[in-house]
């Protein structure tokens, strides 16, 4: 299970369960929900960035070479990037393998 700092008693929960720290969702690493991972074939990739645009978790970022890479600490393995890739350069591979 993802590690979070919210494991407190009810008396210590923030008022209204509000979150006062902006961007703190980044601390909530959701990558362990994944059963499949996206694998990129750089031969086919044209670096268009469609995977980066469509990723619902915004876990893609551009490398210095211009390719787009998914951050496995947040990727939930939904496969939207593979589905949207116009060159079929992304394959979803089961995590067991």
């Amino acid at each position: 299970m993802a590690q979070i700092d919210a494991i407190v008693g009810w008396k210590d929960l923030p008022f209204g369960c509000h979150v006062y720290e902006p961007g703190s969702t980044a601390k909530f690493r959701t990558g362990d929900w994944r059963s499949q991972r996206p694998v990129l074939d750089k031969e086919k990739c044209i670096r268009c960035g469609m995977c980066w645009v469509f990723c619902p978790d915004m876990c893609y970022s551009q490398t210095e070479e211009g390719y787009f890479e998914a951050n496995m600490e947040y990727c939930k393995g939904c496969g939207i990037c593979a589905h949207e890739c116009p060159k079929d350069a992304i394959t979803m591979v089961p995590e067991e393998d």
């Binding site: 919210a6 407190v8 009810w10 929960l13 008022f15 209204g16 369960c17």
Partner: protein, 392 residues
């Protein structure tokens, strides 16, 4: 000292919301609540109240807007009824745990099917556990006074919870009554400006309504439950100060000729006034009967109710709600729970009456009392009885 006028109760409630200086009203018209928000929109259009009136496409949107405006720190009001309240249902569960002090009038009305625009309590009983503070008004004056009290309690920083004031549809909403409309200075003295503990502010970002994972959800529910239980102290204080400023006293539970009564009727809402007439009529005939009226429904005032019921040996509880397949009406179930295995507990008999606008008359109360007295001697086979229903 306020001014006593003959006024439709819905219009008087709108005037109370104006006197409370509400800042945002998001509402959708639905019978029998429509006159309240209709009049508020006129008040705002005429420049008599500096507020934003948001015309929305549904009650779901109305309550969503209310959550947003309350979170932004605005004094927020809405009103609804029946099917509209049901359509709001998904959003109704949000402002409680999120501690957003919205005030809403519910003009109680039956739920379809069959379609009915008339009065009973089935709409609010379907929403009784949404985690709002809830009161029931007996008459127009109470509807006005409880509205002012609602803002005061909701926005108290120790409470910070949404409040519903229930008024019986048509029976109250569309009736012209003599009502004291308080002066603005009195209301201002009673109701300070809304100073939220937290509000949406770009300079100090806050996330409201995040995900509650299994490690947090139970604790969040517990915190909300404790807040609503603790609100009773502020509710009582709010009524005490109301009496000091406006001279009208309110309690969570009220009694009428209950001392030494053998049988006590238990009612909620406007039928309480008919019940008082019925008690007088039965007392004249020598029947030992009194009345207990529940004004505060959530948090349920258990100790106050037990005290009000006193030494009566029989309680005849009237529910204006028939929950199909349940053991009895919701008020009856609540009272059976608070007296369960208490030494000297009264015998409690549950009756369902006044559904979908059916009048609850003096004669019907007499029938209920007669039945309760008979059941005290010979236990009934059913846990509740529908009164006034035609068999053929």
């Amino acid at each position: 000292m306020g001014k006593r006028v003959g006024i439709e109760v819905s219009i008087a409630i709108a005037e109370a919301v104006k006197l409370a200086r509400a800042e945002v009203i998001a509402a959708y018209p639905i019978t029998p609540q429509t006159h309240i928000v209709e009049h508020l929109s006129e008040i705002i259009a005429n420049g008599e109240l500096d507020a934003e009136f948001i015309t929305v496409e549904s009650e779901h949107a109305a309550m969503s807007c209310c959550c947003g405006s309350s979170a932004a720190g605005a004094r927020t009001y809405t009103a609804t009824s029946s099917q509209g309240l049901a359509l709001m249902s998904e959003i109704l569960y949000h402002p409680g745990p999120m501690r957003l002090p919205i005030v809403m009038t519910v003009a109680n009305r039956a739920l379809a099917a069959p379609i009915s625009i008339w009065n009973d309590h089935q709409d609010i009983m379907a929403q009784r556990d949404i985690g709002w503070i809830q009161t029931f008004a007996e008459n127009g004056q109470e509807a006005v006074d409880l509205t002012l009290h609602a803002f005061r309690v909701a926005e108290d920083r120790k409470v910070s919870l949404p409040v519903i004031v229930n008024i019986d549809g048509f029976t109250l909403s569309h009736v012209i009554e003599p009502i004291v409309i308080p002066d603005q200075e009195e209301v201002d003295a009673y109701l300070p400006a809304f100073k939220p503990r937290v509000r949406l502010d770009v300079k100090k970002p806050v996330t409201m309504g995040p995900v509650g994972i299994p490690e947090v959800y139970t604790e969040a529910k517990m915190a909300h439950n404790e807040a609503i239980k603790a609100s009773k102290r502020v509710i009582l204080q709010g009524w005490k100060e109301f009496a000091e400023i406006f001279g009208r006293e309110y309690n969570p539970v009220e009694t009428y000729r209950s001392e030494d009564a053998e049988v006590l009727l238990v009612t909620m809402g406007s039928i309480s006034e008919t019940a008082m007439t019925a008690v007088d009529a039965m007392r004249d005939k020598g029947t030992s009967v009194g009345l207990v009226r529940i004004r505060l429904w959530r948090p349920f005032p258990g100790p106050e109710f037990r005290k009000a019921a006193g030494k009566a040996s029989v309680l005849a509880v009237i529910d204006r709600c028939l929950p199909p397949g349940a053991v009895c009406g919701p008020v009856g179930a609540e009272l059976r729970s608070i007296f369960y295995k208490m030494p000297g507990a009264p015998k409690i008999f549950s009756f369902v009456a006044g559904l979908g606008g059916r009048d609850v008359t003096v004669e019907l109360f007499e029938e209920i009392v007669d039945k309760a007295r008979a059941y005290a001697k010979k236990r009934p086979t059913e846990l509740y009885e529908v009164i006034g229903v035609r068999e053929r």
